[in-house]
């Protein structure tokens, strides 16, 4: 106990020395608090975004890989390429189910077929027919989607695979009470609000669709959704891309497809995976299960990460700054303590002469530093807590501004006038020029000092105290009291 009393006396009677040490620790604590708060909050935001953003894996056709094997400049090469293309083993709904049987895959596919309206009309006031059709893989029967039909009947295998609803691209406007009980069992559908308005449809109405052979299929409307995505084809259609998409469950679609030879289904396997890290493992699994090697797996990782790139940059900056602060702070404290201990050599000699053991003396000296450090850490954490929010937001604002300026500069290089916003006329979509969106998921960090930050700060503070106490610990072990006192005499 007397050691702590001595430590306290030493601190209060040697104010200059301890204020200097305290000030250095305070600056370190303040910087650490801000950087830890930024780092932790940024991690939380990234994780939160990552969790809200489904980790999707899709199968894409590796055209380059396949065509690389043929010389299409000659007739022979073209024939070989054609033959190879025709013999690609396409994947079926059963293959997809087999692929999905993996511990890394949480849910899997959508299955689409095209049907014409019987009791309803396609929502369409077209100026120009939109090009292209449904994306994704090849049809279950080895043929591409027929795009001339009115509606796309899209079946989801599970609620987890309804990524548009998870990400908020689609939101439900109206829904029957038992909709989710029925959604994956039988002929129940969700339709787009625009389609409902166009055909004056409401919940529980029965709609009829038909195939090319005029076989009709009845579905009950159990929900009406809205498409919140900004259409890339606004100039060509008054309606959203999903206006004529009717959503049901995969089993309903598969049943229709299986029973009717003349219907061409398109399986669009979108696998929801547990972690992007497992992408290669999953790809290997798929190949082992029979996926043709002209297909490859792709994830939405880049898009997901791009949306938090500014926050990641701030996080990385915070980490680097933290390491530099700790290194410099640690070295400065160590040197300062070495200088102090030279001044306190005589004191060590007196303590040792009157019989205070090396261990007790070490405890006393470390306690002194610890008390000063704790005091400085508390004040530093307080100041850090007060400034971490404005500092973090200012850093992020600056980072986003830099990113925006860089984008603006690129657009200027293409001669795009500043006042033109959006993709007007024939101006290409500059936002995708770099292959990723530039819109950031967050425009503020609001770094807060919570218990985690306090605990981390405490660990850092204790580590700094131990590192900087090494000088005194070594000196106490090394100095002979007699030599010290002789030098003094």
């Amino acid at each position: 106990m007397f050691l702590f009393k001595n430590a306290w006396i030493s601190i209060t009677r040697n104010k200059g020395r301890n204020i200097l040490i305290g000030a250095i620790i305070l600056v370190i604590a303040c910087a650490c608090t801000v950087t830890l708060a930024i780092n932790n909050t940024a991690s939380d935001l990234i994780n939160s975004y990552s969790n809200s953003y489904e980790k999707e894996l899709t199968l894409t056709f590796n055209r380059k890989e396949m065509m690389g094997n043929f010389d299409i400049r000659g007739e022979e090469g073209r024939e070989q390429a054609k033959e190879r293309f025709e013999n690609i083993a396409s994947y079926t709904i059963d293959d997809v189910k087999s692929f999905a049987d993996s511990k890394h895959i949480e849910s899997y596919y959508t299955y689409s077929i095209s049907l014409n309206g019987n009791s309803i009309e396609k929502a369409e006031i077209e100026v120009e027919t939109p090009p292209g059709g449904f994306g994704g893989g090849r049809g279950g029967k080895g043929q591409m989607q027929n795009n001339s039909m009115d509606f796309s009947l899209t079946g989801y295998s599970s609620i987890e695979s309804m990524s548009e609803f998870i990400t908020g691209t689609y939101t439900m406007n109206e829904i029957t009470e038992d909709a989710w009980d029925k959604a994956f069992n039988g002929n129940y559908v969700f339709i787009n609000q625009e389609l409902a308005d166009y055909n004056k449809l409401k919940l529980n109405d029965i709609i009829k669709l038909e195939d090319t052979n005029e076989n009709t299929y009845e579905f009950e409307i159990i929900g009406i959704f809205e498409d919140n995505a900004e259409s890339e084809n606004q100039m060509m259609s008054m309606f959203s891309n999903s206006a004529n998409t009717i959503i049901t469950n995969a089993d309903a679609v598969v049943t229709i497809d299986t029973e009717n030879e003349n219907i061409t289904g398109s399986v669009n396997p979108t696998f929801i995976i547990d972690d992007y890290k497992n992408t290669e493992t999953i790809q290997e699994e798929f190949y082992k299960k029979g996926l043709d090697e002209t297909y490859m797996v792709e994830t939405n990782q880049e898009i997901a990460e791009a949306a938090v790139s500014s926050i990641k940059n701030i996080k990385s900056f915070a980490k680097t700054f933290l390491v530099i602060t700790l290194l410099i702070g640690g070295v400065v404290l160590f040197i300062l303590n070495m200088i102090n201990i030279r001044e306190r050599k005589y004191e060590i000699g007196v303590f040792r002469t009157i019989g205070i053991s090396k261990l007790k003396l070490t405890i006393q000296f470390v306690s002194e530093l610890l008390l000063v450090a704790l005091f400085a850490l508390v004040i530093g954490a307080g100041i850090g807590a007060a400034i971490s929010k404005p500092v973090s937001n200012s850093l992020l604002e600056s980072e986003i501004e830099n990113s925006t300026n860089s984008q603006q500069e690129m657009e200027n290089n293409f001669g795009r006038p500043n006042e033109m916003q959006g993709n007007k006329g024939n101006i290409p979509n500059f936002n995708k020029m770099q292959g990723k969106p530039t819109v950031q998921a967050y425009d503020s960090i609001n770094a807060v000092v919570d218990m985690t930050v306090i605990l981390e700060l405490l660990v850092i503070g204790l580590s700094l105290v131990i590192v900087s106490s090494l000088a005194s610990m070594i000196s106490i072990q090394r100095f002979s009291p007699l030599t010290i006192l002789k030098e003094r005499s």
Binding site: N6, S10, T353, I354, G355, S357, L482, K486
Partner: protein, 227 residues
Amino acid sequence: MKKEKRNEENILLSIKNASYRYSDAEKDEYALKDINYDFEAGKIYAIRGRSGSGKTTLLSLISGLERCTEGSVIFDGKDLKNINLDTYRNSQIGIVFQSYNLLPYMTASENIILSMDASGKKIKNKKQKALELMESVGLKENYANRKVLRLSGGEQQRIAIARSLSYNPKMIIADEPTGNLDKQTESEILDIFKRLAHEEGKCVIIVTHSQNVCDAVDEIYDLKKVK
């Protein structure tokens, strides 16, 4: 040289064939060689010798600040090699230095209480005990809360003696305790040592050059430089 008949039962400390060689010294270069001294309780001793004769080295062996390289130092029947020297210094002996060796940032009473704390002995009302000790070495109560650097040399030395007595040790070892003091103060300090030895039964060993000190002690050991 004063030498009286030895009372074997009264011997508190014996130095037996003690030699000391510094770790960086040559093989045959000794600071002390074959020293044999006995010190009794209730007596005051002077260790005298020229510079380089090994007086301070001998003091460091007696006070447990160093261990002899050959021979032994026996205190109260126990070889210092076999006991904890920190405990020996903080409870069995008191050391007084020429340069006082007080902690400058502490007050007079705090320096005395520090030694009581270090001894680990249960001492009631340490502050009061410190005041009594100060009074016993001729310092008034109003000195208690003064920083030691504000005291004169003689006053600091009295505080150092009070500190060495604070846990009631059996032996006081003093290294040139009057070296920095005037004759009047030297005489007063010597009176304190004599009282401690003759009235309180302590063994007092003083390393000194001073003839006045030698005149005041019961026994003198002359140290010769090792050839």
